[in-house]
């Protein structure tokens, strides 16, 4: 069953697109092309990620994830989180369902914030582009400052946000 109500924003934008196309056809066409391309990119990238998240959900025991990303995981928590975030591909919104799953399995808020921060700062496939476009100095400043900043943010957020309260919206369940 498709709930049409959940698509309202999409339809509003679609009307916007129609209006733009009506005023200027070239622009409308360009917008359709750009949108179509990013939808295609997304549909290619999402299935393997969601399959992996689904498998992770079924196979990884809570106790073992707590050991790697729980409150007392220390330096292993940092390294493990960094590893997870840097090998990943794709835009930040793909990291959201992964982060929620980790949280559900007992990862502490600190590492979730660090995970999201690292995902948006350091990614091995993207690093090459940054390196070739902006050089070593720029890249090193970006990475080292970003990681330190997000780790500290994680420490702060951990004091403010409760792990259990954040989990009331489980997106793997039916809404």
């Amino acid at each position: 069953m498709i709930k049409l109500k959940r698509y309202w924003f999409f339809f509003v934008l679609l009307i916007g697109l129609l209006v733009i196309t009506f005023i200027n056809q070239t622009m409308g066409l360009k917008a359709v092309q750009l949108t179509g391309k990013s939808i295609l990119d997304m549909l290619l990238l999402l299935p393997p990620i969601f399959i992996l998240v689904g498998l992770l959900d079924q196979w990884v025991k809570k106790e073992s994830l707590i050991r790697y990303m729980g409150e007392k995981s220390g330096i292993y928590g940092i390294l493990f989180t960094l590893l997870l975030a840097t090998v990943a591909a794709g835009p930040l919104y793909i990291a959201f369902p992964i982060a929620v799953l980790l949280l559900k399995k007992g990862a502490s808020v600190r590492y979730i914030v660090f995970f999201l921060g690292a995902w948006s700062t350091v990614k091995l496939p993207v690093l090459l582009y940054e390196f070739t476009s902006f050089g070593t100095k720029f890249t090193l400043i970006h990475i080292s400052f970003g990681l330190v900043f997000y780790y500290l943010t994680g420490l702060l957020f951990e004091k403010i946000y409760d792990q259990k309260k954040m989990l009331k919206n489980d997106i793997t369940m039916d809404a």
């Binding site: 999409f10 949108t35 399959i51 998240v53 400043i141 970003g146 946000y161």
Partner: protein, 160 residues
């Protein structure tokens, strides 16, 4: 798109291993994956269309013209807003940044733009809210904006 191929290979390998070990668990896992996909699809389609519209209106030469060498703090402000609204694949972010620099944009402004493009998402905010709750989503985006601004400041001091 090598990372995409690797991703598919890894997912397939794990799926096969999982299927051999436990069919019920694998079925449950795929069911979960499907539900997740169905839950995020309405938001994602809207995000894609929104970004398509924004990027149609903004061209590299236009962006470069408002964040040039003389643009100063106002340029930083524009970059922050632009980067927070637009959303483009991360492997395009840096080559785009380079194009902007070649078109006359200044380095600290481009640094903010690139950093916010990757870490701040107005377009994805409603999805992030549904996932983590409102307060966390806002706070995380705010922290990402602060990070981007500080990063630009460092770049300004060290490299410009």
């Amino acid at each position: 798109m090598i990372s995409g191929i690797i991703l598919y290979a890894v997912a397939t390998i794990y799926l096969v291993i999982s299927f051999i070990k436990d069919k019920t668990k694998t079925k449950n896992a795929l069911l979960r994956s499907w539900k997740m996909f169905r839950n995020v699809l309405p938001d994602l389609l809207a995000i894609m269309l929104f970004v398509g519209l924004v990027l149609t209106l903004l061209t590299p030469s236009f962006i470069s013209s408002i964040i040039g060498e003389q643009s100063g703090l106002l340029g930083i402000f524009y970059s922050t807003i632009l980067g927070s609204i637009a959303l483009i694949p991360s492997f395009i972010v840096f080559p785009l940044g380079r194009t902007l620099i070649q078109n006359g944009a200044a380095l600290p402004q481009v640094a903010v733009l690139m950093s916010t493009l990757m870490s701040v998402g107005f377009a994805t905010l409603s999805m992030e809210q549904k996932t983590f709750g409102r307060s966390f989503a806002y706070a995380r985006n705010a922290s990402a904006i602060i990070m981007s601004l500080l990063f630009a400041l460092i770049i300004w001091v060290v490299m410009a």
